[in-house]
């Protein structure tokens, strides 16, 4: 399903860029096309798991999807950095270098932000306990 959605949005982005120009097409490079499907799947899986363990796993499932969305919000900062690197440096440097540099920038920014929030919100009395009900960032 994700393959189809990813393929569809990439093909659609190309068609939009051809019809309306690169300015409009470029917006859709950061369109959350796959995100709703991913979040819905996480909620579904967590609900099924929760219902096996107890009477109602709905709230825990919703919170798991919320935590996933918070992670994606941190990733979007990396996405912004990726776009900045490519747009500022593309005409001057080799494209393959910039695409690699952009991908590395996304990784560095996203992981750094995640590490910062992890240390910020991790309860001091719990060493390595992580669960969907833990307080997420941006909440």
């Amino acid at each position: 399903m994700r393959f189809w959605l990813g393929g569809l949005i990439t093909a659609a982005t190309g068609i939009i860029a051809k019809k309306y120009g690169p300015s409009v097409g470029g917006l859709f490079l950061a369109f959350p096309a796959i995100f709703p499907a991913g979040a819905t799947l996480i909620e579904k899986h967590e609900r099924e798991r929760g219902q096996k363990a107890g009477p109602d796993g709905t709230e825990a499932a919703r919170k798991a999807a919320a935590v996933d969305a918070a992670g994606a919000a941190m990733g979007s900062v990396g996405l912004l950095l990726f776009a900045l690197v490519i747009s500022r440096l593309l005409p001057e440097y080799e494209p393959w270098m910039l695409i690699l540099g952009g991908a590395l920038s996304w990784t560095a920014a996203s992981v750094s932000l995640w590490l910062i929030q992890e240390y910020q919100w991790r309860p001091s009395n719990i060493s390595d306990q992580r669960s969907a009900t833990r307080r997420p960032p941006f909440s």
Binding site: T10, G25, A72
Partner: protein, 119 residues
């Protein structure tokens, strides 16, 4: 038609790759990072550079800045709503796409970041 098929295949593969990475990573907040991976951007910009040239791709990347800010607003809103309101994630994630559209086109239309030519 051939180009559309190539885009479809490359985009599908790129998105699947990052999705699999997200599936195998834990905890969930870390796996969530891959929900904002530049999968479509990597596929599209690579093809755009090859087919249309670096100038075209640079304009696309500049507009992508507005799209990324909209993505941040979108995912933050989705996370907050799911954490504080008893609503299903299908409803929230699809309804909030309107927020993404409003923010992305709002930034693009109100500044010098991109030149909108819708008509």
């Amino acid at each position: 038609m051939k180009e559309i098929v190539v885009r479809f295949l490359i985009g599908g593969l790129a998105v699947s790759f990052f999705s699999v990475l997200g599936d195998i990573c834990k905890p969930k907040s870390f796996a969530g990072l891959f929900g904002a991976a530049p999968s479509v951007a990597l596929a599209t910009l690579g093809i755009a550079i090859f087919k249309e040239g670096t100038q075209f791709a640079a304009i696309e990347a500049r507009s992508m800045i507005a799209g990324s800010i909209a993505f941040f607003v979108y995912t933050s809103a989705v996370s907050w709503i799911l954490m504080h309101r008893a609503v299903s994630s299908v409803w929230v994630t699809t309804t909030c796409l309107l927020l993404w559209i409003a923010v992305a086109f709002g930034i693009c239309g109100s500044g010098d970041l991109c030149e909108l030519k819708l008509i």
